[in-house]
Amino acid sequence: MSQPDDQVRELARLFPGVQQADEGGVTYFLIPALSLPAGCTPDRVDALLCPSARDGYPTRLFLAEQVRSRSWGTARILERNWYMVSWRIREGLRLAQMVLAHLDAFK
């Protein structure tokens, strides 16, 4: 599913190096070395934003490493293993807002 150009450009401005790729009819955004909220270890980690519905969540953010111990699951997307946390954000956000809202899970 394609995303509005202005939102994609905004995402790229806020998260330099972002790339997009498709799998299974879904477009994902790969954000390299995403800065995590203070206190997280590691403090930077590759992240994958799924801006469409997946597994009953309207959007999801996957991380390449496990950041803190809580209810984690795993997923394999785009030939990488990712960690995910059970965190639901409100719908209707722009792409960049989605990333920031998902990061609230780690505060």
Binding site: Q19, D55, R76, L78
Partner: protein, 445 residues
Amino acid sequence: MSPEAIVRIPRPLYDRLAADLRRPHRIAFERVGFVSCATATAGGATQLVLACDYDAVDDAHYLDDRGSGARINADAIRGAMQRVMDTKRGAFHVHLHGGRGLPSLSRMDQEEIPRLVNSLRAVGPGVPHGILLLSGDSCAAWVWRPGAVGAVAARVAIVGHPMHLSHPGVSAAPGALDGFSRQSFLGQGAQSTIAQVRIGVVGLGGGGSHIVQQLVHLGVRRFALFDGDVVNESNLNRMVGATAADARAQSPKTDVATRVITAISSQVELVTHMGRWQDRPELLRGCDLVFGAMDTFAGRRELEVACRRFLIPYIDIGMDVHKVGNESPRMAGQVILSMPGGPCMFCLGFLTEEGLGQEAAEYGTAGPRPQVVWSNGVLASTAVSVCVELLTDWTGPRDRPVYLSYDGNAGTVTPHIRLKYLPATDCPHYPLADVGDPIARAVIS
């Protein structure tokens, strides 16, 4: 032993290019074309080459040369080079020789085509290029790997119904074809194909243990097995080969499967991973066909994604028992063949976002699912029959997708009703353009 290169071609693409190559030309004796290929690695040094598109050489780009079957001009070669630069994919020169059986290169092919491949390598040094050569009923390939000197003969799989496997110079191990006279009706060459196919099985519990046992009886000799679980007492009601001693010792299910297989044949090439296949994905990529016998929709989705990406037919089995109110329990199951290029489990309506969401919401609270040996056996046997049909074509042409519905109460296995309403369109979820290692596109702010 793993081949150095594996070339996979979806059958619809293969049929399209073969039909094009058979068209007569005004001045040339034969036609040529170029196949665009994605790449990946498949364990060790094995190079995967995944055909995803075909470009015919334009009629006007053939030269009038009576000394060769077909000679193409510089425009045709420049066009192929341009596609390599544009797509970052490998290019394979393809043409067709007459006759049957594994084709071999003519002296002129051996002289001329390496020069052409060198031109392709000049503009696409990081991807493999090569030659595909078709005969009336087979296909051979030679692959120039990035940086390598010279070409390697590849194992070729035409992925579709029926599967076709060929590998120049490689035959079944001595004795591997003995003892199968009772299944000779499968056809000439069928047992050799069965002995050469490499099959992956994910999940070695109630369903997977039956599948593995049947495959080795059938004559399959190359396996990649995945399961991270150990045997416990609750597995003994259905897991073939598991014993009370295994439950006490908490033996890995991969060990039990290995014991079952090697007790039937000592000539197997067996790779096991006691863990998630996602942690050894390269082992899966090297398989010609994969069975999945898993408990979750999410697990099925991930396995289908991988199989589609690497052009591997995937056969899924599963069952469940539902109880509504005071009615008798209803036992149901499915066998699905997810063929690259054909309808996927989303197209078939078996996987849905709603179902995946519901499963995720119930994660950890659903408790153990009912499983019994006889339904596991029916589903596993049905899945193995689908596999045999795919490998041998013994029942003849079949063009329908396979989605079989098991009714455990009625004791029937029938084509699923949804097949009647399946749209006659290509799968929108897994286009051929997405095969191979993922290609991420930079986003410009």
